[in-house]
């Protein structure tokens, strides 16, 4: 298992690095860029929602802010198309992060269902602003981004591919670092029992807000990259509620709160969605299929792929080493003993 843990990611990284060299068709590399963008977004979203258990359905607002931030910077500063706009991505992320501070501060005063509803409401407010603040966003006329004229033909997607891959790896590294820090442990404690975490010295308010802002920063960068990739933005697409559904679904499918789960979910769902979109020529059938997928995931894999696999694996290991477990039971004293096998949550299990 340990070798798989190290070899697996390295193999995946090599495949991702080599992918556009092997599959050169622009259709395929185009889908690959979008897939990596969604993988980055889902990974960033997971830093907040996966670790703290607060399901935010308004991160499309930060995607939109990032999109507009780079469009405005490019037009105001007359940035030419090419590699230069990539350097503006962190600034676009920063813009999203700045916007996320007050929004997070307000929405994080609530919990659970209320929090979800508030994040959705905030998203729609931001979308309305994008339509109506015409002086800044040009309203529904949209904005153009510089076109990298030098990147013709099949090469066009390649810089986007590698820039997005770098962004994904950065987000993943941040997610990994947080997961292994005291801070991240505090976030996971908040997910399991917030009041108890508070009583154990976890500064829950600032911890949640910081995670919210970090995830908004990366989602803002994704929005900026997406805008530059498409070369133009419109309010309805920069602020798209389906974006939230997509990244949440990807994280749920792969495994909410796991490191690699959101990436796995994105690698499965985004190409599937693009495939259906191409097949059914944008008539919305893919949305129906999306909805069905959501139902199937909740029905069959409520915990997501990775946690289910991990559990199956530890159950196998437990049954192979059944003897030591029993020995442990014998000297550990009475009580319902944990086994490797999963136990359905039972409230108020009495000690015999």
């Amino acid at each position: 298992m340990r070798t798989l843990r190290i070899a697996g990611p390295i193999a995946l990284l090599l495949v991702l690095a080599a992918f556009p060299q092997v599959f050169r068709s622009p259709e395929i590399t185009g889908i690959a860029v979008l897939t990596l963008l969604y993988a980055t977004a889902a990974t960033s979203w997971n830093i907040f929602s996966g670790y703290t258990g607060y399901i935010a359905l308004g991160h499309a607002a930060f995607f939109g802010v990032g999109s507009y931030a780079i469009a405005i910077m490019c037009s105001d500063w007359h940035v030419p198309g090419g590699y230069l706009p990539f350097l503006l991505l962190p600034l676009a992320g920063l813009a999203a992060a700045v916007v996320s501070v007050p929004l997070g501060w307000i929405s994080l005063r609530t919990r659970r269902h209320t929090f979800i509803v508030i994040t959705i409401a905030i998203f729609f407010i931001m979308q309305l602003l994008a339509f109506n603040l015409r002086g800044i966003t040009h309203g529904s006329a949209g904005m153009e981004l510089p076109i990298p004229a030098a990147w013709g033909g099949a090469f066009f997607n390649i810089p986007f591919y590698y820039a997005t891959l770098a962004m994904l790896l950065t987000a993943l590294a941040v997610s990994w670092w947080i997961r292994n820090s005291k801070y991240g442990l505090g976030l996971l404690a908040i997910r399991d029992d917030e009041d108890r975490a508070l009583g154990l010295g976890v500064d829950t308010g600032p911890a949640k807000l910081a995670a919210f802002v970090i995830s908004a920063f990366f989602v803002g960068m994704v929005g900026a990259m997406h805008a530059y990739f498409l070369e133009s933005i419109f309010p309805a697409f920069a602020f798209d509620p389906l974006f939230d559904v997509a990244i949440a679904l990807m994280s749920f499918l792969g495994g909410l709160g796991t490191l690699a789960g959101p990436i796995l979910g994105a690698l499965i769902l985004e190409p599937t969605q693009q495939f259906f979109t191409l097949q059914f020529s944008q008539n919305g059938v893919y949305l129906i299929i999306y909805g069905l997928l959501f139902l199937v995931i909740i029905l069959l894999l409520p915990e997501g792929i990775l946690p289910t696999l991990r559990r199956t694996w530890s159950r196998d290991r437990a049954s192979r080493s059944a003897a030591p477990v029993e020995a442990l039971e014998a000297n550990g004293g009475g009580g319902a003993k944990p086994r490797g096998a999963p136990r359905k949550k039972k409230k108020g299990m009495a000690q015999p």
Binding site: R196, L200, G201
Partner: protein, 243 residues
């Protein structure tokens, strides 16, 4: 020396006066018991001390300083730890991870620190050994039995070396053998300098463990003394029997 003092605290929920001018104090180094019929305000008292509820009126002092209405995380960092009546652990974290939650860092340091420095790791393992959960350290805490969860919750707060520990019904739902073990552990910690305030319905457990017992009824303290004195106090008998 009085480690913890609650002075004339009032707390109402709607029309219910949960604390009605309650005053108690806990001597440093003692094991103090707090008993009383259901609804007499014991848990509310714990909640206002540890910052889970704000007081309507009155003052709470710890080591002579006011901690009235301080948030729970600050109260905990000052050295006042508690357990809950309905055991609260982090079910999806492993037993060992549970142990590390309490050893928090402030601000940026939390982000820079790995969740287990070697010193803290060793301390966590020692404590798991102390409560007898060392063999289960890598299991999700949600898989533990009820009694084991109680032990884990108890061990969790010890990581932070609290000065006073407030136990809310530590013996509730735990089998008699385990209760004896628990008494022993509380005594040995007390010898090393930890003060305890224990709410418990199990009279045998309280009377056997505590050097001093306070009785609450309808939000005020009605008796205070050694277990033997309290047992004979007519007000206490009346409160319990409703005569």
């Amino acid at each position: 020396m009085k480690l913890l003092e609650v002075a004339n605290v009032f707390k109402s929920f709607g029309g219910v006066r949960a604390l009605d001018g309650c005053s108690i104090d806990v001597e440093s180094g003692s094991i103090t018991g707090l008993i009383g019929p259901n609804g007499s305000g014991k848990t509310t008292l714990f909640n206002v001390i540890t910052g889970y509820e704000t007081v309507d009126q009155g003052e709470i002092r710890f080591e002579g300083r006011s901690i009235t209405d301080s948030p729970p995380d600050r109260v905990f960092r000052l050295g006042v730890a508690r357990t809950f009546q309905l055991t609260r652990i982090f079910p999806r974290l492993t037993v060992l991870e549970n142990m590390h939650v309490a050893a928090q860092r402030e601000g940026l340091q939390a982000l820079l620190a790995r969740w287990s420095s070697s010193h803290e790791q060793q301390r966590a393992l020692e404590l798991l050994e102390f409560v007898g959960l060392i063999d289960l350290k890598d299991l999700p805490a949600g898989n533990l039995s009820y009694g084991q969860k109680k032990l884990l919750e108890f061990a969790c707060i010890l990581v932070a070396d609290p000065k006073v520990i407030l136990l809310d019904e530590p013996a509730g739902g735990v089998n008699p053998t385990r209760i004896n073990e628990l008494s022993k552990r509380i005594r040995s910690l007390n010898k090393s300098g930890v003060t305890f305030l224990v709410v418990e319905h199990n009279m045998e457990f309280v009377m056997g463990l505590c050097d001093r017992v306070m009785v609450m009824h309808r939000g005020v303290k009605i008796a205070d003394g050694t277990p033997a004195q309290v047992r004979k106090n007519p007000d206490v008998l009346e409160a319990y029997l409703g005569a």
